[in-house]
Symmetry: C2
Subunit: 421 residues, 2 copies
């Protein structure tokens, strides 16, 4: 990578609805990630409104900073939308009908049984200096320019339209035009250990990483992603370098690793259950159905998810789930004894290999000195017996629900893989 | 509002982690919304990395565009974080210890039983031209400047720290300093009707809105928010104008309105159930626990949520919920007959006033000609009988789960309020 010049990009989002906070700009973040992956450095992100002077000034400023300028928005058929006429003005060219683009818009409308209006026809008129880039999933075409020493791409603001244009056209084109460093990324997904503890465990390994392999910690709720990035000249050797480092680090943190790259914890659980030919059921009190929800977001989860019960009151923990009245009265719903019975009984009820349970005080009300808000008991029952854990979480209800779910899923992961002590 | 000059703001987010897409910038969107509410016009949002030249250039450009410049990020104690030294450089002043700030950082660490390091002490050193703004929920203080004809506020990038500084200090201060138009907003929350149908119903009413009252449609998943904004000189008369318009529109769309402003559908349901002194239980098949999850995100939901069952297979619909084997065999799990029994039986099982059920094909697999992916049956049982509805949703699993939840909650809302036909 020694001689490669850094390729710089700017992302320009256009639209009053963004500046006024009516719409969240998820595009700029997504584009940032995709450019980072191919070794293009994003130097600035700018959002301007539907305003002639602001847009022209943004073009001019971006051109001075960046080799690649990626624009989203401002392409609707109405008068508010200025991106197209201002690109024509900025590059000093006319706007003319592109028959191929008209054909594409016509087909788009025909397929949906809608009539083509004059406003829509106008979407097929493009600045003469641009390359027409077909938009297969919408009506506003992409426009590609190579002008003033930079490359420019204008895309619609609708996320799935933008993404398709980026994936099908922009990213391959950028890789073709610019000499980019060869980059190989791999993300190690961990759960059940905080960032600072992980960093402490990894101190020595991290110090000995080769110069061309970088490590980033990306923490999220109850999980930490470790991203390894290798830079060099040859993809295969970079892959080897990264895999070698992973081999070195696994003996240290293997217990916390549930997967790689984009795999989520609930996907990993599904994969593990399918591999083991086992299934699961949940008795959720404080998590209120959230764990079952996470599991069932995964296509094909019916293969290993038997079902769940949410007994939100002691009466139903007893009546429907068979938790002893005496246990509930003496130990309370938030107790080790109660979650053990919940886990074991939900396993029986749903005839499953694993039964898991949560019971806790999600808050904001309901806590007391001995069991403050954030106290949660979880359990996992299997043929190898039942294990439990007491969690002391936060003051925030939503956070407590989410962290309980992560802890329960992690407990299940450890039990399936035989990694519990 | 005639003579008031538009007050312009720029939002500046600082940090490599934003440009590289490692962290989503939710701050800029939130600040946009808050400024919009008080009548400040956001003219640009800019994101730059941890780079001296880029940050200084962004300061200079923002100062030329905006009266108010709000910055987030770049305030950590490490060397990467440049906002503070560059603000001092830009305004040509020194950085000195602020004893009050040191005391605050010391207290913050003491409370958490952590030791104060030299790096943390440095967070109490501030540019001499700034006003120190205490950060009660973090270690990096806010810094307020009135320089070069603009006001500037630097805040940490951690969302809850930024929000507290905005709410406690920045927004009141901006309202105090700048002559802002008087604005009154009210949001009407609707569910169960699409944007274009709503627009069609509202055509005449919308045409007759007074000049100073603006309407915006803000669609989200299965819901549409109608935001009424009135501009003028006197708050009370604006409130009256908006309330009068709401009185006019309610006879037209009242059936779809579940609440106002920030109230969510699940909060509205909770409020209605508490008012009626009634409670609810859910039997969720295709929604997989998501409805129970939504309901239990609300503090105090144990008052009206009895619990739920997620019988993900026919066997458990029969064994645990008592759906007839013959019904399941002849009509199938995704049928009106099945959801009726599910709703009625879950009501009995959880001794609740209302019992609701969902059964459908969430996808991506499992559909066939007669019942394609996205086919969902829902039902609500109450003392007044059982009603059902067939939904034809999308090809997307997650969307189908979410839209099913909205439809079930809306059905419950209509039944509680007696608005079903």
């Amino acid at each position: 990578m020694g001689n490669i010049k850094t390729v710089k990009a700017e992302i320009l989002a256009i639209g009053d609805e963004l500046l006024y906070g009516q719409i969240i700009d998820t595009n700029s973040h997504w584009i940032s990630q995709e450019l980072d992956k191919i070794g293009v450095k994003v130097v600035q992100r700018t959002t301007v409104g539907d305003n002639r002077e602001a847009i022209l000034a943004a073009f001019k400023a971006a051109e001075q900073r960046a080799d690649i300028i990626l624009m989203t928005g401002g392409l609707g058929p109405t008068n508010d939308d200025l991106t197209k006429p201002l690109l024509a003005e900025y590059f000093d060219c006319e706007i003319k009908l592109v028959p191929e683009a008209l054909e594409a818009v016509r087909t788009f409308f025909e397929k949906r049984g809608r009539e083509l209006t004059d406003l829509n026809k106008f979407q097929a008129h493009l600045p003469t200096k641009c390359t027409y880039v077909p938009n297969e999933v919408g009506t506003a075409p992409g426009m590609w320019f190579e002008e003033n020493g930079s490359v420019w791409m204008s895309m619609p603001g609708v996320p799935h339209e933008m993404k398709k244009l980026m994936e099908d056209f922009v990213l391959p084109k950028v890789k073709e035009i610019f000499p980019l460093p060869i980059i190989y990324h791999k993300v190690i997904k961990t759960v059940g250990i905080g960032e600072s503890w992980l960093a402490d465990l990894l101190k020595d390994w991290e110090k000995n990483l080769p110069e061309h392999v970088k490590l980033a910690y990306l923490p999220s709720l109850g999980q930490v992603k470790l991203r390894l990035t290798a830079f060099g000249d040859e993809l295969e050797s970079l892959q080897n370098d990264v895999e070698n480092q992973i081999e070195l680090v696994m003996p240290i943190i293997g217990k916390y690793v549930f997967g790689y790259n984009k795999e989520t914890l609930e996907e990993a659980i599904g994969r593990m259950l399918k591999q083991a030919g086992k299934n699961v059921a949940f008795a959720e009190s404080c998590s209120g159905g959230y764990i079952s929800h996470l599991i069932t977001t995964i296509p094909g989860s019916s293969e290993y998810f038997q079902g769940g019960l949410i007994p939100y009151h002691n009466h139903f923990k007893n009546k429907l789930l068979g938790v002893d009245e005496a246990t509930l009265a003496e130990k309370g719903a938030v107790s080790e004894e109660t979650v053990i019975q919940m886990a074991e009984n939900v396993k029986g009820m749903f005839e499953s290999d694993f039964g898991l349970a949560s019971s806790g005080i999600a808050g904001p009300g309901g806590g007391w000195a001995e069991k403050p808000v954030g106290t949660v008991w979880i359990a996992c029952a299997s043929e190898r017996g039942t294990i439990t854990k007491r969690l002391q979480l936060t003051q925030d209800r939503m956070l407590n629900i989410q962290l309980t779910a992560v802890a329960v899923l992690n407990m299940l992961r450890l039990v399936i893989s035989g990694k519990t002590e």
